[in-house]
């Protein structure tokens, strides 16, 4: 066993309120000291500016997909990660970020047409498993913190990483 090996993770956010990111920063109050010994945070924009996507063991992905640009970014994450975990309601189900999919009023659709055309919005907002294979889900709005700790523990075990 390689005792120096750390679990290499990335944390990514797409269209959402980033509540799971905020919850994660709260979980670091209790877990940062322990996790720093076991985990390399290779991509985590909320916490660092030097971020790399290559060679991830696990990518945690929060948020729904609103555009082709985001879909391509998501596919790139999948190509660079051994495992992908969907985090929170928007990534797992699309909702509530996908509320606009249900707009039936011509008046509302006319009003939002400017943004839909001016920027690169897709017709519908979709969950991440509509684009890539997802290995695990941590549900909740925000994510269930216990389930997240269990998911981290599962992948530490899978990669034979112990203190």
């Amino acid at each position: 066993m390689d005792t120096n090996k750390k679990l290499v993770i990335g944390w990514f956010s797409f269209t959402c309120c980033e509540d799971s990111t905020i919850l994660l920063t709260e979980m670091l109050n209790d877990h940062l000291t322990e996790w720093k010994k076991l985990i390399e945070f290779r991509y985590m924009k909320p916490l660092k500016s030097n971020n790399r996507i290559e060679g991830l063991d696990v990518a945690f992905v929060e948020g729904a997909i609103s555009s082709e640009v985001q879909a391509n970014e998501l596919k790139k994450i999948r190509e660079n990660s051994k495992y992908v975990v969907a985090i929170g309601a928007c990534a797992c189900t699309g909702q509530p970020s996908a509320s606009r999919n249900n707009f039936v009023s011509d008046e509302i659709n006319y009003k939002i047409a400017f943004y839909m055309c001016h920027f690169d919005y897709s017709k519908n907002v979709q969950k991440i498993s509509d684009f890539i294979k997802v290995d695990d889900q941590v549900n909740g709005c925000p994510m269930d913190p216990k389930a997240f700790v269990e998911a981290v523990g599962k992948y530490l075990k899978l990669f034979n990483i112990t203190q």
Binding site: N29, D30, T33, P46, L47, P96, K111, Y115
Partner: protein, 433 residues
Amino acid sequence: MHTGEITIENITKIEGSAGLKVTVQERKVTDLKFIIKDYRRFYTEAVKGRPIMAVPSFLSRICGTCSISHLFCSIEAIEKSQGIVVTEQTKKLRKLAYDGLMIRDHALHLYFFVLPDLLGIDSILDIPDEEGNLGHQLLHDSFDIKRLGNDLSVAMAGAAIHAPLPTVGGFLRLPDASKFPELISRLEAIRPLVLRGIDAFANCKDVLTRNSDYLALRNDAGFDFIEGQVVNTSGKKIAEENFHDFLKSVIIPYSQAEGYVFSDSHEDYLVGSLARINLNKDLLNKRTQADAAKYLALFPSNNVYHNNLAQALEILHCVDDALDVLKEITMVEEKPVTVPAKHGVGVGVIEAPRGTLYHLAEVDEKGMIVNYDVIVPTAQNQINIENDLKKYFQENLEKDENVLRLEAEKIIRAYDPCMSCATNFLKIEWIRS
């Protein structure tokens, strides 16, 4: 730099996605774009036709970090549309939940996002695990401060993110008063840590001054995030329900969020902690005023980096305010105030961590939302951020490009912008510029 472009694709250590593009020609900044990149979710359209009781909880999903601000602002707008007046106990419990939000939210920004700049490192992940190291001490202080802010909101509102207990008219379940003594002890114990943080952020040597107007709620009865009138630097007072009339929405073609100018002065303006301390420092908790006097003497300030120090001071105020409320409150059993649904329009204006937040709710006679509008702090600060950056770049073009990038990120970070908040809405009345 004489001629060229500086682009930052993704500004880090902020909430949400934003970028920056600066064009320089012949030693002049000819163009600067602060680009908010989060995609819109059109939540103000999504609530139309929904029953009012379901709307505040849905709109708390605008933002993960200040969800309690959107929850309370939406509740206030709906209560005003229905003529509901809540009890004094409800007001106190909301105040406590809100103190918890401010403590946690400000501490996240200051210690997780800004502290690395102060220490000259990239990330809190680079802080060594060494007792006696200042960074280590402040980081571990932040764990205790954030945890307490979180727990205070949980005790009052059921959760710190998307809180389930506050509702139109009051609370679905009242907090367990037997937990108050423990909260009082922990709040008292945290004060020295908060004061250490104030001193650390006061030692920041960065300066960027520019004359801006400042806007914030002011309640002459005391420093208040929830009730009051909007005031500006020149002393203009605007009732909450008229706030919208004083703002001119400006479409920014490259940004997913619109900007605003204050119609009274036609100038850019700043909202947030710096504005609140500049305009209301005389109203802070007396204990805060006494223990932080030498830091408060720095205000009013036009240095945008003092927004960080202002946030640190607000943490102390919220600790002291929560202590006062918890020590005197006597809980009585009560249910949320309810009235039969009626047609009405209500406006809620409150101070979110990042500044003045506006919700407008129009409700039909069946209690369904007909129209909804939201104006968030980061959208209001957008033009001010750009103008600050233009000034900085124009005065520092001779510096190394990497220094310019780093400093630009620090200026943006000082505003504590939140892109999730800024991109939820649909503005239909633009003043094209």
